[in-house]
Amino acid sequence: MQAAPSESTALATYSAEVRQLLFTYVVQLADTSLILGHRLSEWCGHGPILEQDLAMANIALDLLGETRSLYQYAAELEGKGRTEDDLAYLRSAVEYRHPLLVEQPNGDFAHTIVRQFLFDNFHYPFLQQLKSSPDERLAGIAEKAVKEAAYHLKWSSEWIIRLGDGTLESRQRVEKAIASLWRYAAELTTPTATEKALQEAGIIPDYAALQPAMVAHVARVLEEATLPTPPATTFGLAGGKEGRHSEHLGYILTELQYVQRAYPGLTW
């Protein structure tokens, strides 16, 4: 592990424009893991078996840890004195920048698994590349998170296989979940203007380069799960990364931000 660079050296080299782009982007990453972790934590105490309750809480905790490091970095990039909690608790739905996939409801266990699998299948190879980012803070966060993401991907892949090649019911349920969630996957690797600019600056990985590994892993898992590959032409739903969300987000934030909104400005 590299030593954490001092704040001034890491940030001083960026132009105001890059700093703004990076702020937007780091918030997007933080929002993504916060919202997915929130969804997973809704399972806590209600999982299908105690061991899986533990596994989901564990993944939610990993994502929350990643969230906090990212918001802390975003707050420094912004330099306006906001904290991780200000960013999480005091922004409205349209200011949230995560992809639509992660805010989708838990549904049954199959929906939760498919949502997780689609995310992990991007998250893991993405973090592997982000580790070599010239931005030392992002590289450091990725270095820690990638080990966790490797486990998450293993967990969700194994469940896709179990459910696909389990019973008739589990197969039907996982097929239904794939049919409803697959259309959200493309947004993960479709760069926004902010992402394109950062990719061109060489600060974040080029998503196109991640595709071959992602496609290969999905193919391998679906084959082992004896599940058909969903048609590639499915119309992709997107917009979350630019603040255009589904109706679900409003309710997530209502819960998540409740105490901070009801008692503004206090320390907890």
């Binding site: 916060l34 929130h38 934590s41 809704e42 806590c44 105490g45 209600h46 999982g47 299908p48 078996i49 105690l50 061991e51 899986q52 309750d53 533990l54 809480a57 564990n58 939610a60 905790l61 929350l64 840890g65 969230t67 906090r68 918001y71 991780e84 909690d85 999480a88 608790y89 049954d108 266990f109 296989i161 179990r162 459910l163 090649d165 389990g166 019973t167 019911e169 589990s170 349920r173 819960e255 998540l256 409740y258 105490v259 901070q260 008692y263 206090l266 320390t267 907890w268």
Partner: protein
């Protein structure tokens, strides 16, 4: 060992002699059926309490007021799931199956700690559950680290370490509230008002009405009586409440210089027995949540078993 000179001890006498000498009983040792049954009842009840106990705190994970608190709460509830797992495993060493224990929980035959039948209504409840409920749990559980049955005692060593961590975290939540704005301090006091008496009930009925205590003490499953632990708890908590600047909601509470202990009011035993019988505010909801999770998870567990069987069959063919 039997000797020729003295009349041989019965199995039961040998067993009691080991207990009296503080030698741990292990799964393969002979034990009286009643000892086994008492332990299965107690350990599974304890495991169920961890499982059901995830619900009132899980209720606040999505609403925790800061990312740090959310993270602490989530790992705490995760710890509880872990405690449930090792306690179910400890009960399994006595020949109980997890499926049967869960079936008994779902049918209402097996009990869990009544404290979890009270609702968590404000963020301060996360403080009170940690500070008071885990505080009471620790007093109940620390002696269990020396309980006579080995697997239970060893599981409890781990549980207690984590519980005392949780208790400190709960106290810290309360302290932050009490040092905060008036609205936060009110929230803390209001939560203490609701949790104080139910927590005193966690030590169980009065000694005079506790049918299992005497035998459990003899077998060294239990090492202190309910009333002894309740007194200890009050003596420990009152100064902490004073430190926080909170008022314990008991007008009869008074330091007794002669006893060097606090005198305190009478628990509402009618309420205690009603909640034990299933008539508390959240009994039905808690059980329903558990039953629903179990039933809705049935297809997942079946799929995992079916897949494992297919795999095994394929490996068998390949071998």
């Amino acid at each position: 060992m039997e000797t020729l000179e003295k009349p041989a001890l019965t199995q039961e006498e040998q067993f009691q002699a080991r207990i009296d000498a503080d030698v741990r009983i292990e799964p393969k040792d002979w034990m009286p059926e009643a000892y086994r049954k008492t332990l299965i009842r107690q350990i599974s009840q304890h495991a169920h309490s961890e499982l059901v106990g995830m619900l009132p705190e899980g209720n606040w994970i999505t609403r925790a007021p800061s990312l740090k608190r959310k993270s602490i709460l989530l790992s705490k509830v995760q710890d509880e799931a872990g405690h449930g797992l090792y306690l179910y495993s400890a009960a399994e060493t006595l020949g109980a199956s997890r499926d049967q224990m869960l079936a008994d929980l779902h049918s209402g035959k097996a009990k869990y700690s009544s404290i979890f039948n009270y609702p968590t209504l404000s963020w301060a409840d996360m403080g009170c559950v940690g500070w008071l409920v885990d505080g009471a749990a620790i007093l109940n559980q620390v002696p269990l680290c020396r309980t006579s049955y080995g697997p239970y005692a060893r599981a409890m060593v781990r549980v207690c370490k984590e519980e005392s961590f949780h208790q400190r975290q709960g106290f810290e939540v309360m302290q932050t509230l009490c040092e905060g704005a008036p609205a936060q301090k009110e929230m803390a006091q209001e939560a203490l008002n609701r949790w104080w008496w139910p927590t005193l009930m966690m030590f169980g009925p009065k000694d005079s009405e506790s049918p299992n205590t005497e035998q459990s003490m003899k077998w060294r499953i239990k090492r202190f009586t309910n009333d002894e632990l309740r007194q200890k708890f009050v003596d420990m908590m009152v100064p902490q409440a004073e430190f926080l600047g909170l008022t314990v909601p008991d007008p009869a509470l008074k330091w007794n210089e002669e006893r060097k202990a606090y005198d305190f009011g009478e628990v509402n035993w009618e309420e205690f027995w009603q909640v034990v019988k299933g008539n508390g505010l959240c009994n039905a909801d808690r059980l329903q949540a558990r039953v629903q999770a179990h039933e809705e998870g049935a297809w997942v567990r079946e799929a995992a078993l079916a897949h494992a069987a297919k795999r095994k069959a394929r490996e068998g063919v390949g071998a």
